[in-house]
């Protein structure tokens, strides 16, 4: 299906920036532990096209088409917040898909090694506007002790 997309030169290879540091981001999610599925110590930045949005609970998935060095197009599936959170922020499927080409995403990759699976922290569009879904904290200083992945601070019973 991604053959139908027109990719620009800027869509080229994914830029991996996580090698230089470790990130701890307090992510709010509504279901499972983000840290149990995604590596919150390794942030990746990718360039590509927002190709599809799965508007579903418990998490919306944004598909992001990235042209790899080999020329193949990878379909990254990026988990993000639940529908209720997206609605509360006034964001819609149409807004996520608008101006979809030549976008940049910051993500955490899957811990289990599943290729092209990540947690979406931030998406920045070609005109500069962005949507943020998780904190972008500075890299951990060299030698600093690691902290356990954060968890949702909200606790409630029915």
């Amino acid at each position: 299906m991604f053959k139908s997309f027109r990719f620009r030169a800027a869509l080229a290879a994914a830029i991996v920036s996580g090698a230089s540091g470790t990130f701890i981001a307090p992510i709010v999610a509504a279901h499972h532990s983000v840290g149990g599925e995604f590596d919150q110590h390794k942030k990746l930045t990718l360039n590509g096209v927002v190709s599809q949005v799965e508007w579903a609970n418990p998490h919306i998935y944004v598909h992001f088409a990235v042209k790899e060095p080999s020329g193949a197009v990878a379909d990254w599936r990026l988990e993000t917040v639940p529908v209720a959170m997206m609605r509360k922020a006034g964001l819609t499927k149409a807004l996520l898909l608008a101006n979809a080409e030549n976008a940049t995403v910051d993500i955490y990759p899957a811990r289990d090694g599943t290729p092209h699976l990540g947690y979406l922290l931030k998406i920045t569009y070609a005109d500069g506007h962005h949507y943020q879904f998780g904190a972008d904290t500075p890299a951990r200083p060299p030698g600093a002790p690691q902290r356990a992945p954060s968890s949702d601070p909200a606790r409630s019973s029915p």
Partner: protein, 286 residues
């Protein structure tokens, strides 16, 4: 006060203080229950032709995300979450700063191991994490109420899916022609201005709340709903003496009347659990 102090170390004065505190708490609880049950008719509540409070409408209970405060930024940007700067390293928690103990049912001792096992295996065992019905009472207050003579309909727009319940209020008994279910069989009646919904006939495959709080199919739930102006109070009491030492009350939930209409039901499709590399999970707000 050090919460780890053993009871015997409190001494006679301490024990007396604890007893007084317990009596005060019990008296407060009884007063609250009596006050809610015997509350006089309210003046600021619209009523239907039958004189009962008008509960019709869409009720925003926060969907468990009251803590979320999205920010609209210049240029069309939006910060949905993680908007605040990273917090400074937190000092060690003291008793005064510690998170309040969660409202958790008190289980009979022989069932504590089962609760622990379920909690330790929540990712696999909690149906809510697999898009299954949260059941009553975990589903909380209804998101929309349609009230008509002799019948009230509860509609739910839950992260696990959309659910509905039809609750007769014409005095008929519980049905005997339906299978047990996660939402049970509810019949309603009015106690003053409070709608009381009596629920039975449950399946045993849901939890009362997070962290392994199972129940049996013999569970009996009583929900109480009361409108106060533009808000709706909801609270449920769970009776399951086979496994619980005492009835368990859910947290009091307060929903606000809103002109927003419920949206088209959103499908719930789990893609995540199979990718979890450990058993960590966080609380599931509701």
């Amino acid at each position: 006060m050090n919460s780890r102090v053993a009871p015997r170390a409190l001494g006679r004065r301490g024990a007396a203080s604890c007893a007084a505190l317990a009596l005060t708490a019990a008296a407060t609880l009884i007063w609250t229950v009596v006050a809610v049950a015997a509350a006089p008719p309210q003046q600021d509540v619209p009523r239907l032709a039958d004189g009962h409070p008008d509960l019709n409408g869409t009720w925003d209970n926060g969907s468990g995300i009251d803590f979320l405060h999205p920010e609209q930024l210049p240029g069309g940007s939006v910060c949905v979450a993680g908007c605040d700067p990273p917090p400074a390293p937190a000092p060690r928690r003291t008793a005064a700063r510690a998170r309040p103990a969660p409202n958790f049912p008190h289980y009979r001792p022989q069932f504590l191991a089962k609760v622990k096992y379920l909690n330790d295996h929540q990712l696999k065992m909690d149906g809510v994490l697999h898009c299954r019905s949260p059941g009553v009472p975990r589903i909380g207050p209804p998101d929309k109420i349609v009230e008509r003579p002799g019948q009230i309909v509860f509609l739910y727009d839950d992260v696990s899916g959309s659910f509905w319940r039809i609750i007769p209020t014409d005095g008929r008994p519980h049905r005997t022609d339906v299978e047990s279910s996660t939402l049970g069989d509810g019949v309603g009646h009015w106690e003053g201005d409070t709608l009381v919904v009596d629920d039975t006939n449950f399946s045993d495959d849901t939890w009362l709340t997070d962290n392994g709080a199972f129940h049996t199919s013999k569970m009996h739930v009583v929900e109480r709903l009361r409108r106060a102006g533009g808000t709706l109070e909801w609270q449920a009491t769970v009776y399951d003496p086979t496994v619980l030492l005492e009835p368990w009350k859910t947290n009091l939930r307060i929903a606000k009347l809103t002109t927003d209409e419920l949206a088209e039901p959103t499908p719930c499709v789990d893609h995540d659990i199979s990718h979890e590399v450990d058993n960590t999970h966080h609380d599931n707000p509701r």
